[in-house]
């Protein structure tokens, strides 16, 4: 066996290959110490083999213990070793012992999608733990799992979960088809996979939903969606999704009904403001000052008096500043991040206004845009909204108010035209159908 492995893996330095002899018999053992749990190997193989050795018991153990799988095909050995298994040859048979080193053994805390009073546990970067988390939350015999591997070099394990009574079959079919067609070298993050899968690398909006919350995945599965768990990624992918799913935070379901609705309504308003406010500012100050109240027109006029540039350049300056600030505070280590926010937000904003580079109204506009962008619960969706506002800005530079309205119309057209795995992305009352299906499933099971 060892020669064979040597020929596959070319004897890397971090591979341990031993021929062991306990005095009675010999065993060939081979594993990557860095990828295996050494304690497990010691407890599972070395102790029974060395000072508690009993040939019968040892043979029984190899044949019946769940941890030992007979590995008859030499061509699989390399992959097995790379997954973190130990291979041993005993009496001419090769066994694979899964002693994979686990980085995580408890659920992580939610970081991206924090919840106030909901569950605080999140997916980890370990697929098995994630499976456990999901099965724990969706403890039903109807939960179906499919397993596959993707990535020529990374050989990433992927699990597909769905409820076989509730799942939307055409979407599942389309997902399988798309997964089959994916050819990637490295699968590193679920987002990457989602992007390739959707065939939507150039889509303005995400058509798969990434989440780190097992409770959200459980809820989505219950609504007939499919979930994908990728090994090594904290984020699960759900599909097909709709526009409204992105504006939904799990807290909405854990708080009283009307509070939840109110917060959702605020979120939509925030989204609209975040998209349109800079362009509205341009329209008001360059095209239609009569649109709003006279007082507003006069204050915009007064505060713009010292600004040397036309309104759209002012808008671009401020928007660039705020984008840079957001980007900086994400990339920087956490303790420097707050300094960046203070310097950029407070000092620069104040100074820019006093220096007459931008108007004070524009400062307000910028901060409203940034803050209301953060109320969107899903970060990939909030990226989309962040990008959308530039389209509005460009439209308003050329066409003013009408430009904004028509762009809004086009965005609605685009969203309605978008399909997420065959399902309409934006259409009303689809939610009701989903819930009906969920109820039907509950009755039949």
């Amino acid at each position: 066996m060892l020669d064979r492995i040597k020929s596959i893996l070319k004897d890397p330095a971090d591979l341990t290959m031993e021929t062991m002899d306990n005095g009675y018999t010999r065993m060939e053992l081979c594993f990557f110490p860095s990828m295996c749990d050494l304690k497990e190997i010691k407890d599972g193989i070395l102790i029974p083999f060395s000072y508690r050795f009993d040939p019968d018991e040892f043979r029984r153990m190899l044949n019946s213990d769940l941890c030992f799988i007979e590995a008859g095909k030499p061509e699989e050995w390399g992959n097995m070793l790379l997954k973190g298994c130990a291979l041993l040859e005993y009496e001419g048979k090769v066994f694979c012992y899964a002693a994979i080193r686990k980085m995580q053994d408890k659920p992580a805390d939610t970081e991206v999608e924090a919840s106030l009073q909901g569950p605080q546990s999140a997916f980890t970067e370990d697929l098995d733990l994630n499976t456990y988390l999901l099965r724990l939350r969706y403890n039903s015999p109807t939960l179906q799992a499919e397993k596959l591997e993707k990535g020529e070099l990374s050989n990433t394990r992927i699990m597909i979960f769905y409820d076989r009574n509730l799942v939307d079959e055409p979407s599942l079919e389309e997902l399988r088809k798309k997964l089959k067609n994916i050819e990637m070298k490295l699968v590193q993050a679920s987002g990457q996979l989602g992007m390739y899968m959707g065939g939507s690398r150039f889509s303005m909006f995400p058509i798969t939903l990434k989440t780190e919350r097992p409770d959200r995945i459980a809820q989505l599965i219950q609504r007939g969606k499919v979930a994908l768990l990728v090994d090594g990624s904290r984020f699960a992918i759900a599909l097909p999704v709709r526009f409204f799913d992105f504006m939904h935070a799990m807290d909405d379901d854990y708080e009283p009904f009307w509070m939840g609705r109110l917060i959702i309504a605020f979120r939509y308003i925030g989204m609209l403001l975040s998209m349109t406010l800079p362009s509205l500012y341009i329209s008001i100050s360059s095209y239609n000052p009569e649109f709003f109240r006279v007082q507003l027109a006069f204050s915009v006029d007064g505060s713009r008096a010292a600004v040397p540039y036309p309104s759209f350049i002012e808008v671009f300056i401020m928007l660039f500043m705020i984008e840079a600030l957001i980007e900086a505070s994400i990339r920087l280590p956490r303790f420097v991040g707050s300094t960046a926010a203070t310097v950029g937000g407070l000092i620069l904003g104040q100074a820019a206004q006093q220096a007459g580079l931008v108007s004070s109204i524009m400062i307000i506009v910028t901060s409203v845009v940034a803050i209301s962008n953060f109320v969107i619960p899903n970060s990939s969706f909030s990226y989309s909204i962040r990008a959308m506002k530039y389209i509005f800005v460009v439209a308003s530079i050329f066409y003013g108010m009408v430009g904004v309205i028509i762009t809004m119309f086009l965005v609605v057209v685009y969203l309605c035209n978008l399909r997420s795995f065959g399902q309409p992305y934006l259409s009303l009352f689809k939610q009701g159908e989903e819930q009906r299906r969920a109820r039907r499933g509950a009755e039949s099971s």
Partner: protein, 361 residues
């Protein structure tokens, strides 16, 4: 090359799309039109322009007034553009003042400029300046925060809700100017030091001014024609010193016109309100009697006012229109109405209801 072409295209677009920053615009807040007497250039167009600042305090409003004589309004405004360094914007002009002289001499058809401009709000208010529009424009009210805000608040019922103020927006003025059986009215603005007094109303026929009502009549007119509550009924207290003043909180007017050869117009007015000022111990006395007296006094005054208006040959209430509406009349009926209007009889029935004496006994 393509990038340069794209840039050129963008700039070409930018130049063609009428971008005009707000700080390159002058907001006209009040427009005044006067009669010069010069037949070549009969109109004096005056504009009050807002000078905005980022700080807002009472009395911080600054304005600039420009004025020129011209043969027509459009020419005047175009000429005035050369007086200033920024583009004139009428989008926020909410008050238009016409000099009294203008109404005596000019004809109202020249005013079609207002109706035709797309940027003038139809809800902009019209008024008459006494003695002329320019002197009204020159007034700088001390408390004004935003330029032009004082007049705007006066007429808009957002600030003061005085029963003496009649507001006539542009669309209403146009409607009254063309309508059969409904004539225009205009509030009169006078000045007193640094504030405006708006307590009279001017009645016009289709082209000329006919009659100016005094403040008391203005209030009566406003109460009955526009159903302005927060007005008052006053009468001297019988047998005692002082007066009885009732604030009207609710007012309903109903007009009925009989189909006789010479029609009779019956106006039923229902008033509800509280006693605001009265000699002490009013509570013990008979409210019904006070109500009856107030009502009687009101209807007497109203009838006198209506006759005065009728004798001036104007119809600000729209009796003629109401007559046509009641009997689904056409043009013939309107001719008949015009011929009999000078002889119509008025009857005013006032139903006064006092709801209480206020918070004191």
């Amino acid at each position: 090359m393509r990038k340069i072409g794209l840039l050129i295209a963008i700039f070409a677009l930018l130049s063609g799309c009428g971008i005009k920053d707000i700080d390159k615009r002058f907001f006209v807040v009040t427009t005044g039109i006067d009669w010069t007497g010069n037949p070549e250039k009969p109109y004096r167009v005056s504009l009050r322009l807002a000078i905005t600042s980022s700080k807002l305090e009472s009395g911080s409003s600054k304005t600039e007034i420009i004025s020129t004589d011209a043969a027509s309004l459009a020419e005047g405004v175009r000429h005035l553009k050369s007086y200033v360094d920024k583009e004139l914007d009428f989008g926020h002009c909410r008050t238009f003042i016409m000099g009294k002289q203008l109404l005596e001499h000019g004809n109202l058809n020249a005013m079609s400029w207002f109706a035709r401009r797309r940027d003038i709000q139809r809800v902009a208010n019209f008024a008459v300046g006494e003695p002329d529009a320019l002197s009204i424009l020159r007034v700088q009210p001390i408390s004004e925060r935003y330029p032009g805000n004082a007049l705007f608040l006066t007429f808009n019922r957002e600030g003061t809700e005085s029963p003496y103020i009649v507001s006539i927006p542009l669309f209403d003025f146009t409607r009254r100017h063309f309508e059969m059986g409904l004539d225009p009215v205009l509030p009169i603005i006078r000045t007193a030091e640094s504030t405006y007094i708006v307590d009279r109303v001017l009645l016009l026929d289709k082209n000329n001014m006919r009659l100016a009502l005094d403040p008391a009549e203005t209030q009566l007119y406003n109460m009955t024609a526009n159903r302005i509550d927060k007005s008052e009924l006053v009468m001297p207290a019988r047998g005692r010193d002082g007066r009885i003043v009732m604030t009207v909180s609710q007012i309903r007017t109903k007009i009925r016109i009989s189909h006789a050869e010479v029609p009779q117009i019956t106006m039923t007015v229902k008033l509800r309100g509280m006693l605001e000022e009265s000699p002490p111990n009013q509570l013990g006395e008979n409210w019904k009697e006070i109500e009856r007296q107030l009502g009687q006094q009101f209807s007497d005054r109203m009838e006198a006012l209506l006759e005065k208006i009728r004798d001036a040959g104007v119809d600000p209430y729209g009796f003629g229109l109401h007559y046509l509406a009641t009997y689904f009349g056409g043009k013939e009926d309107f001719k008949h109405w015009q011929s009999v209007y000078p002889n119509v009889k008025f009857k005013v029935v006032a139903e006064v209801k006092v709801t209480g004496p206020g918070v004191v006994r």
